[in-house]
């Protein structure tokens, strides 16, 4: 199963590198949304709370552009049936999850670099806290996005539905990471955010565990 998982993730990676659709969409989304924020702000100084909120808003909505496509692509190309035949459903789930994790981490890195350039107030004062937040946040984000994307792939009106379905699921994660990111920008101690990390860790375990159990019901017709 582990071999199959990696095979599916590398298949997605290779087909992504051929077209670069998702990566381009993600990066352009990050650039355009940051540009919009800059248009609105002009010379205003913004607080770290606002910045960390904006940062995750960009990540959340960029996720709609890229992460939600992961199963829709299979249905549109008509390859979902083949995938159902050749791989076990848990391998499909974990392969897609792995690929979505990669995408999210890339997205978060791009957003971080762009924020560092664009906003003089965006200074990471405690790097370890920021790195841990962003890493755990990406994993949780990818975990929720994968299972929602699998549901959305079966429905009509796929684009808008993803945002509607994912927000209530992602809200506990978003609230926690926004708070922790603001703490990292303000230079708080790593140990001050241990409670938040427990929430993030619990969230990731709960979502991945349940998705693993329920994925069969979504994937198999």
């Amino acid at each position: 199963m582990i071999v199959q998982t990696f095979a599916i993730a590398s298949k997605d990676l290779r087909s992504e590198l051929r077209t670069r659709y998702a990566v381009n969409a993600l990066l352009m989304f990050v650039v355009t949304s940051v540009a919009t924020i800059l248009f609105a702000l002009r010379e205003d100084r913004v607080s770290t709370d606002v910045l960390s909120g904006m940062y995750w808003v960009v990540v959340f909505f960029s996720g709609t552009a890229g992460l939600s496509r992961i199963f829709v692509g299979e249905e549109e190309r008509g390859t979902a049936l083949t995938l159902r035949l050749i791989a076990s459903s848990s391998a499909v789930y974990f392969g897609k999850l792995l690929f979505n994790c990669l995408q999210t981490i890339l997205l978060v890195l791009a957003a971080t670099v762009l924020y560092l350039i664009a906003f003089p107030e965006f200074v990471i004062r405690s790097a370890a806290l920021f790195a841990a937040t962003v890493f755990l946040g990406s994993l949780g984000f990818a975990a929720a996005a994968t299972i929602i994307a699998a549901i959305v792939a079966k429905a009509q009106a796929k684009g808008t539905l993803y945002t509607v379905l994912s927000f209530p699921i992602l809200a506990p994660l978003l609230l926690t990471v926004i708070q922790t990111t603001a703490m990292a920008l303000d230079g708080a101690e790593f140990s001050a955010a241990l409670g938040q990390f427990q929430i993030l860790f619990g969230y990731i375990c709960a979502v991945v565990g349940l998705s693993f159990i329920l994925f069969d019901y979504i994937w198999k017709d």
């Binding site: 929720a144 299972i147 929602i148 549901i151 079966k154 429905a155 009509q156 009106a157 539905l161 509607v164 379905l165 927000f167 209530p168 699921i169 809200a171 506990p172 609230l175 708070q179 409670g195 938040q196 929430i199 619990g202 969230y203 709960a206 979502v207 349940l210 998705s211 329920l214 019901y217 979504i218």
Partner: protein, 235 residues
């Protein structure tokens, strides 16, 4: 069901009368006086309505979740009817709880809405109900609709407790039971109620729960009749 119906009507009428009419005095004597809770005064009467409504909204979600789970196990479409009927009622109770809470917040905290952790959590519960119905309307086939909405409600069911049980205790809030409340932070707000107040409060809980089960029963019966009717229409 007739007993449920009658009992819910009796209990809710009792709560309406007692909750509004019984006076609140500093030193309560006897059965027909409530104590004054410091910081709440007469606004405490909302406990008898807001808390049972919020409780019923959560109960409806759990019933929808349970029938979603049963549907996945048995593939019996009746469980899906139960699930969607329960979710629809839950949405109604959730809206009522939000409105009563919001009006209370205006008089107690000064504004209708101020993103207290509890307000955030009930807002997310509303969004979950909204998303559940948005998903159902986007799925054409009855079987896939039943299956995927069951899966979605279960995923929402594991992430929502993070709001209800974790957040209010981690982030300081204004709601009774949040961190910083001198009465202590617990999942259920510790309100210092006396015996008569408890009787009214628990009558409210039971009354609104029974009302929910009665309405649920009605909706499921309607769904069953509609299904039989549509089968009969087919040649």
């Amino acid at each position: 069901m007739k007993i449920v119906k009658l009992l819910s009507i009796v209990l809710i009428s009792f709560v309406l009368c007692a909750g509004i009419a019984v006076p609140m005095v500093p030193q309560p004597h006897g059965f027909f006086q409530f104590p004054i809770i410091p910081g709440l005064e007469n606004k405490a009467r909302n406990i008898f309505f807001h808390v049972p409504l919020a409780w019923t909204a959560v109960l409806a979600f759990l019933v929808a979740l349970w029938h979603g789970f049963r549907y996945l196990r048995t593939q019996d479409i009746m469980h899906d009817h139960q699930s969607v009927a329960s979710a629809g009622l839950g949405l109604m109770f959730c809206l009522l709880a939000t409105i009563t809470g919001s009006i209370w917040a205006k008089f107690n905290w000064g504004s209708f809405w101020n993103w207290d952790p509890r307000e955030t959590s009930i807002f997310i519960l509303l969004l979950i109900y909204g998303a559940y119905f948005a998903l159902r309307s986007a799925l054409a086939s009855e079987e896939i609709r039943a299956r995927l909405s069951a899966v979605y409600s279960m995923i929402a069911g594991v992430t929502a407790p993070f709001f209800v049980f974790v957040m209010p205790r981690l982030f300081a809030g204004l709601h009774p039971g949040a961190r910083g409340d001198e009465a202590g932070s617990t999942p259920v707000a510790q309100l210092h109620m006396t015996g008569p107040m408890r009787i009214v409060f628990f009558s409210g809980l039971l009354g609104f729960s029974l009302l929910f089960f009665w309405l649920l029963n009605l909706r499921v019966r309607v769904a069953r009749l509609e299904e039989q009717h549509s089968i009969n229409l087919q040649p």
